[in-house]
C-alpha cells in the first residue's frame, strides 16, 4: 500500500469530493477528514523527500514517456504542504457559514486535489489538464455568491485564464514537436539537442509557457483578472486564491523553467532578466495601486501583486540564496495573505462594509482578530519578528550578492509604500467608531458569527505560524532547502 | 391497439438488427452487450417508437412491399423534381406561392411521410402542419386554387400512403 501513497494523496480528496455531493450531513466531516488524510500521507513521505530522495509512481504501470507518472521531490513536497495545509484551514474557516452548500465543499475539494495533481505530476500535458480542472473549480468558487460582481469577476478570470492556458497548451505543443515526449524530465534530457537544431521553437515554447503562467500568476502586465477576482470572491475563497492558487502558477513556472528548460538554455535565452524585470514592475505597480485603493479586499489583492513581484525577483536572481528566499517567501506570503483575507472576511461581515474607512472601531470589538491582522500585515511589510522579514532579507542578500543592489532599493521602497497602506488600515482599525450606533449590516443574509471558534481558529493558527516562522525561520528554510538543492542541480550542471 | 410487451419486443428486435448491422460482429460477447443495450434503448423508447394506436391496414409483408414501391416512386419523382429545380436554377424562372392543402390521411406517421415526400418533390416544401392541413411553399405555382393545387402537389403519394396507413 505504501507505494501507492502518491496517487492516494491526489485521489482521496477527489473521491471525497464526489462523496460530499452524495451526503448532506457529513459534508464538512468528509472534506476535513480527507484533507487531513492527505496531509498525513504527505507527511509520511517527508523523511524520504527531505533527504533529497525522489519518489516516483507510474500510473497504470506505464513508465517513462509512455504514460503519466507522478514524481514527488522537494519542490513538489514544499508546495503540496502549503496547498494542503491552507486548504484545511480554509475548510475550517468556512464551516460556520450556512450558505455554503455541498457544491461549495465539492469545489473546494476538487480545487485542492487538483492543485496537488498539478504539483505532483511529471507529465506536462497532465499538468495542463489538472490546471484546467483547478481553474474551473476556482472560477466557480469565485462566482459562488452568484451576485453580479462575482459573476463578472469570474467571467473575466475565465477569459484571461482561458487565454493563458491556451498559451500554455500551445507551448506544450512546441515542446512535444521538438522532443517527442511529454515527461518533463525526458524533455529536459532532450531539449539541448533540440535547442541546437531549432532554437526558434525552444524560445517560442518558452515565451508561450511563461506568458501563460504569467497570466495565472498575475505579474504586472498580465494581471487584469486579479483585483476583481480576489476582491469579489467570498473571503475564504480569496484566501485560497491569493494564498495557494497563485502559487501553483509559480510552481508551474519553476517546474518548466528550471526543470524542462534546464541549465544552459536558461542562461542562453537570458530569461533571468525577464523574470527580474517582470518582478520589479509588478512589485512597484502592485504597491502603488494598493496605496490608492479604498476597498479593503482590493487593497489586499493588489498587495498580492506586490508580493509576487518579490518572489519573481528572488526566482530571477537564481542563486541558492535567492531561490531559498523566493520559496520561503512563497510560504510566508501564503500564510500571511490567508490570515489577512480571513481577518478581512470577519471584518467585512462585522462592520457590513468593504471600505477601509468603515472599519473604524473594529479593534475594540475584536482585539484578537485585530492582533492577527496586525501581525500579518507587519509580515507583509517585512518587519522583523514576523516571517515576511526573513524571506525578504534572504532575497535582498541574494540580490546584493548577485550585484543587483538597485533591486534591494526597489524592494525597500515598495516595502515602505506597503507600510504606508497597511498602517493606514491599522490606524482605522484602532480609531473610534463613528457616533451613531450602527447595526452591522447583514450582507445578503450572511449570519454574523462573533467569536465563532471555527472562524477564529484558523486565524490564530496562521498568526501563530507567522510569528513562529519569523522567530525561527530555519523551520521554513529547512523545508525549502531540498527544493532549492533540486533546482540548483538543474541550474548548475 | 398493441400491448406494451408486443411493442417492447418489436422495438427490441428492430434495434437488435440495427446493432448487428452496426457492429458486424457475431461474437457472443458483442451480441450480449448489443442485446443489453438494445433492451435498454427499447425500454427507454418503445413507448413512442411504436404508438399504441399506430396500426397498418394489412399484413406486414404486403406493407413492406407497398413501402418499397412507394420509395421507388418517391425516388423517381425526386429525380424529376431535381432536374426541374436545376432547370429553374439556371433560368431563374420562378413564381413562388404559399398554398394550403388538405389531406385525407389520419395517421400521424402518414401525414409526416406525406409532408416529407412533398418536401422532396416538385418544387414544394411543407412549411407547417395544422391538423390535416398542410401549408406548402410552391416554387412554380401553376395555380392557387385550393383543390387543384392539392391534386397537383399530392400527386400519387397520397394514394400510396393511403394504402399503407390508415
Amino acid at each position: 500500500m505504501s507505494i501507492h501513497i502518491p496517487i492516494l494523496i491526489i485521489i482521496l480528496p477527489l473521491l471525497a469530493a464526489f462523496l460530499v455531493l452524495l451526503t448532506r450531513k457529513y459534508k464538512i466531516v468528509l472534506a476535513a477528514v480527507s484533507i487531513i488524510t492527505s496531509i498525513v500521507f504527505t507527511l509520511t513521505l517527508s523523511s524520504r523527500v527531505l533527504s533529497n530522495d525522489k519518489i516516483t509512481y507510474h500510473l497504470g504501470g506505464w513508465r517513462g514517456p509512455l504514460g503519466v507518472s507522478l514524481v514527488i521531490d522537494g519542490l513538489g513536497f514544499f508546495f503540496s504542504l502549503i496547498a494542503l495545509g491552507l486548504g484545511l484551514l480554509v475548510i475550517i474557516y468556512s464551516i460556520p457559514e450556512k450558505r455554503y452548500s455541498r457544491t461549495y465543499y465539492f469545489l473546494l475539494l476538487v480545487s485542492l486535489s487538483s492543485m496537488i495533481g498539478v504539483i505532483y505530476t511529471a507529465d506536462i500535458f497532465n499538468m495542463y489538464v489538472f490546471y484546467e480542472l483547478l481553474s474551473l473549480a476556482v472560477y466557480l468558487l469565485i462566482a459562488y455568491p452568484k451576485t453580479g460582481v462575482t459573476l463578472r469577476a469570474s467571467f473575466s478570470y475565465l477569459i484571461m485564464g482561458g487565454v493563458g492556458l491556451s498559451f500554455f497548451l500551445l507551448g506544450v505543443g512546441f515542446l512535444y514537436a521538438m522532443t517527442g515526449t511529454l515527461d518533463i524530465f525526458h524533455i529536459a534530457e532532450r531539449l539541448p539537442a533540440a535547442f541546437n537544431s531549432s532554437m526558434q521553437m525552444v524560445i517560442m515554447s518558452f515565451v508561450l509557457i511563461a506568458t501563460g503562467m504569467g497570466i495565472k500568476i498575475a505579474v504586472f502586465p498580465l494581471h487584469g483578472w486579479l483585483p476583481d477576482a480576489h476582491s469579489m470572491a467570498p473571503s475564504p475563497v480569496s484566501a485560497l486564491l491569493s494564498g495557494v492558487t497563485v502559487k501553483i502558477g509559480i510552481y508551474c513556472l519553476i517546474r518548466v523553467v528550471y526543470t524542462a528548460f534546464s541549465a544552459e538554455m536558461f542562461f542562453l535565452i537570458n530569461s533571468h532578466n525577464i523574470l527580474m524585470v517582470l518582478g520589479v514592475v509588478s512589485l512597484l505597480f502592485g504597491a502603488s495601486m494598493a496605496l490608492a485603493q479604498k476597498d479593503l479586499k482590493r487593497l489586499l489583492a493588489y498587495s498580492t501583486i506586490n508580493q509576487l513581484g518579490v518572489v519573481l525577483i528572488g526566482l530571477g536572481i537564481g542563486t541558492e540564496m535567492g531561490l531559498t528566499g523566493a520559496l520561503f517567501h512563497v510560504l510566508n506570503h501564503a500564510i500571511m495573505k490567508s490570515t489577512l483575507f480571513f481577518c478581512a472576511g470577519i471584518m467585512i461581515t462585522e462592520t457590513g462594509t468593504r471600505e477601509v474607512k468603515g472599519l473604524s472601531g473594529f479593534g475594540r470589538q475584536q482585539p484578537a482578530i485585530t492582533f492577527a491582522f496586525i501581525v500579518a500585515s507587519l509580515g507583509m511589510i517585512g518587519i522583523p519578528p514576523v516571517n515576511g522579514f526573513a524571506s525578504k532579507w534572504l532575497i535582498c542578500l541574494a540580490a546584493v550578492e548577485a550585484g543587483y543592489t538597485i533591486l534591494v532599493v526597489i524592494i525597500l521602497v515598495a516595502s515602505a509604500i506597503s507600510a504606508a497602506y497597511y498602517f493606514r488600515v491599522i490606524q482605522v482599525l484602532f480609531s473610534n467608531p463613528p457616533e451613531q450606533n450602527h447595526i452591522p449590516a447583514h450582507e445578503e443574509g450572511q449570519v454574523i458569527h462573533k467569536g465563532n471558534l471555527f472562524r477564529v481558529l484558523p486565524i490564530y493558527i496562521l498568526a501563530a505560524g507567522c510569528l513562529l516562522l519569523g522567530i525561527v525561520p530555519a523551520l521554513g528554510i529547512s523545508l525549502a532547502k531540498p527544493a532549492v538543492s533540486l533546482l540548483l542541480s538543474y541550474v548548475v550542471p | 391497439m398493441y400491448k406494451k410487451s408486443v411493442r417492447l419486443v418489436l422495438t427490441f428486435f428492430v434495434l437488435m438488427s440495427f446493432w448487428l448491422v452496426l457492429s458486424q460482429n457475431l461474437q457472443p460477447a458483442s451480441l450480449l452487450i448489443g442485446a443489453l443495450f438494445s433492451l435498454l434503448a427499447a425500454l427507454l423508447s418503445f413507448d413512442f417508437f411504436i404508438k399504441p394506436d399506430e396500426g397498418m391496414h394489412s399484413k406486414a409483408i404486403r406493407t413492406i412491399w407497398l413501402l418499397l414501391i412507394y420509395v421507388f416512386i418517391l425516388i423517381y419523382e425526386m429525380f424529376l423534381a431535381s432536374i426541374d429545380v436545376v432547370y429553374r436554377v439556371i433560368t431563374m424562372d420562378i413564381n413562388p406561392e404559399v398554398v394550403m392543402i388538405k389531406t385525407d390521411i389520419k395517421s400521424d406517421l402518414g401525414i409526416v411521410l406525406l409532408a416529407n415526400s412533398i418536401t422532396l418533390t416538385p418544387g414544394t416544401i411543407t412549411i407547417d402542419i395544422e391538423g390535416d392541413h398542410l401549408y406548402v411553399h410552391w416554387l412554380y405555382a401553376r395555380t392557387t386554387h385550393f383543390g387543384h393545387a392539392a391534386e397537383l402537389i399530392k400527386g400519387r403519394f397520397e394514394y400510396w400512403l393511403g394504402r399503407i396507413f390508415i
Partner: protein, 89 residues
C-alpha cells in the same frame, strides 16, 4: 474612443501574426522528429492494451489518468452550469 482601440488591437494582432508567422516559417511539416515514443505506441500498443484503435489505447490505456481527470473536468463544468442556473431567475 473605442473605434481607435479597435484599430490598435488590429495592429497588435497583425504584429503578433507577423512575428509568429516569421518564427514558425521554417517549422517542418509532415516530418516529425523524435518519434520513438510514437513508434512504440504504433508497434506495441495493440499488444500492450489490446485496442486496435491506437488513439483509444493511449486515451484509455497509457494515459487513462488524463482521461479520468478530463471526465472530472467535465463533471465540474456540468455541476457549475447546474449550480449557476439553479434557483429563481
Amino acid at each position: 474612443m473605442f473605434k481607435e482601440m479597435k484599430k490598435v488591437f488590429f495592429i497588435i494582432i497583425i504584429l503578433a501574426m507577423a512575428i509568429l508567422f516569421i518564427l514558425s516559417a521554417d517549422i517542418e511539416y509532415g516530418n516529425p522528429k523524435n518519434l520513438d515514443a510514437a513508434n512504440y505506441y504504433i508497434e506495441q500498443g495493440l499488444y500492450d492494451t489490446g485496442a486496435i484503435n491506437l488513439v483509444a489505447s493511449i486515451y484509455l490505456g497509457y494515459r487513462a489518468y488524463d482521461t479520468l481527470i478530463e471526465t472530472i473536468v467535465l463533471f465540474v463544468a456540468v455541476a457549475g452550469v447546474v449550480f449557476c442556473l439553479r434557483g429563481k431567475r
